[in-house]
Structures are given as C-alpha cells and as structure tokens.
Amino acid sequence: MPPIQVELFSAPNCRRCGKAKILLEAVVSLWPESEICWRVVDVVEELDHAVQIGVLATPAIAVDGQLVFTAIPAEERLRDVLRQHVEQARTIPE
C-alpha cells in the first residue's frame, strides 16, 4: 500500500502556517511513515503546483493532490479526513 501524500501549503511570513504545521505534524504522527508521507510546500517556490491544486490562500492542506482544507482545520476533523484516506488506501491492492 503506497502512503497517502499530505501537503501543507505555506508561505514566508504567513501568520497561521506555523500553527498549521504543528497541528499537522501532531496528527500525522498517529500513523507510521509507511501510511502517511507529508511535506510543507512553499507556494512562492512552487507557485505552479499550488495553483494547479487550487490553492488560493495559505495555509491549505491537500491530500493525494486534492485540496481538502483551505484554512486550519479542527484537530478532530483533520484526523478524521486522514483516517478516511488511509483506510481507503489500505483497500487498494498493491
């Protein structure tokens, strides 16, 4: 099973991005790296990628290339969404 890919879209001097990163880091740590892989995307560095995903503001979170949150989500909601994606990924045969 390939790990799900989580991306946090962030920008220099973005006030809420640090908080979003701390939250995401904490929630992602509930799963092993083999199930969730995550990274921070600097939208200034990767503007084309951010625009392609549909990011219009930071912070934003995408899972497997789909924009899922356009603001900092509640911890429980983030956990639920990631759980759904992980469970869905588990059903995909290798």
Binding site: N13, C14, V43, L47, V51, G54, L56
Partner: protein, 150 residues
C-alpha cells in the same frame, strides 16, 4: 441588415460620443467604415455621421476580437458570421470554429493567471510583516535597475 427594429436603442450617437464610449479615435472609426468593417453609417442631411446601438455592439465585438489579437481581416469574416450565422460560408464557419478554440485556450490561461494573482494577493494580505511577494519583486527590480534607496 444592421438596423435594429424601431424603438430598440438609440440611433443618434455622434462620432464624439462613440469615441468616448469605445476609446477608438474618430479616424479609426472612419477607417473601419471605409474598409467596410462597419456598415455604412447613417448621416444627417448635413453629412454628420449618426451611429446606432447596433453599430456600437459591432464596435464592441471588434474591440474584443482585437484584444484577442485577431487581424482586421479575420474580424471582418467573423462579423460576416455574426451578421448571418445560418448562411455563412464554409471558410467563415471554419475560421469561427478555429477562433472559438483560440478563445477557449485563452480562457484556460486567464483562469490560471487569475488563480495565481488571487494567491499572490492573498499571500500579501496574510503576511504578518510586509508583503513577501512585493519584497521579492522589488529585490528583482533592484537587481535590474539598481535601488535608489540609501
């Protein structure tokens, strides 16, 4: 063919009004009429041109097409299609189809640019300390032109 049914809009715009409404110069308006991009414009007994609502929509179409970098010759053929789509020549239909595809490609580019600019504007709004994008752009400009700030 280019007359609107009676009572539909004005038919007494003077050339000065049309220049204000379209941004086109009087010379350009006369030129468009001369090359038949515009139909023959009605005149008063004294010879003053009087434009109608239909002429104005015609001109707005020309401006939009020019903004898409269509040539005057292409615009003339598109206007032929616009005037009578059911009876347009095959060559004109083909050109219209081709231009439609160009406009659609342009729309995709514009949509992407719109999203890029929205993101950049939002990044500036969300910044705690100045605007990183403007700062980056400014640095780039300074590299090219040198900073005047001491």
């Amino acid at each position: 063919m280019d007359d609107l049914p009676p009572g539909k809009g004005r038919s007494d715009y003077r050339i000065g009004e049309i220049t204000r409404l379209t941004g086109l110069s009087a010379d350009t308006l006369r030129y468009y009429e001369k090359i038949r991009l515009l139909p023959q414009i009605g005149r008063t007994a004294a010879g003053t041109r009087l434009y109608g609502e239909r002429d104005l929509t015609h001109l707005r179409f020309i401006l939009r097409a020019k903004a898409m970098n269509f040539s005057l010759d292409e615009i003339a053929r598109l206007l032929e299609m616009r005037g009578d789509p059911q009876h347009a020549r095959d060559e004109v239909r083909e050109l219209t189809q081709q231009k439609l595809q160009e406009v659609e490609r342009h729309l995709v580019d514009l949509e992407t640019l719109h999203r890029e600019l929205t993101l950049l504007v939002n990044l500036c709004r969300g910044a705690s300390d100045g605007c990183p994008i403007i700062d980056d752009l400014k640095k780039g400009t300074d590299l090219f032109f040198g900073s005047r700030e001491k």
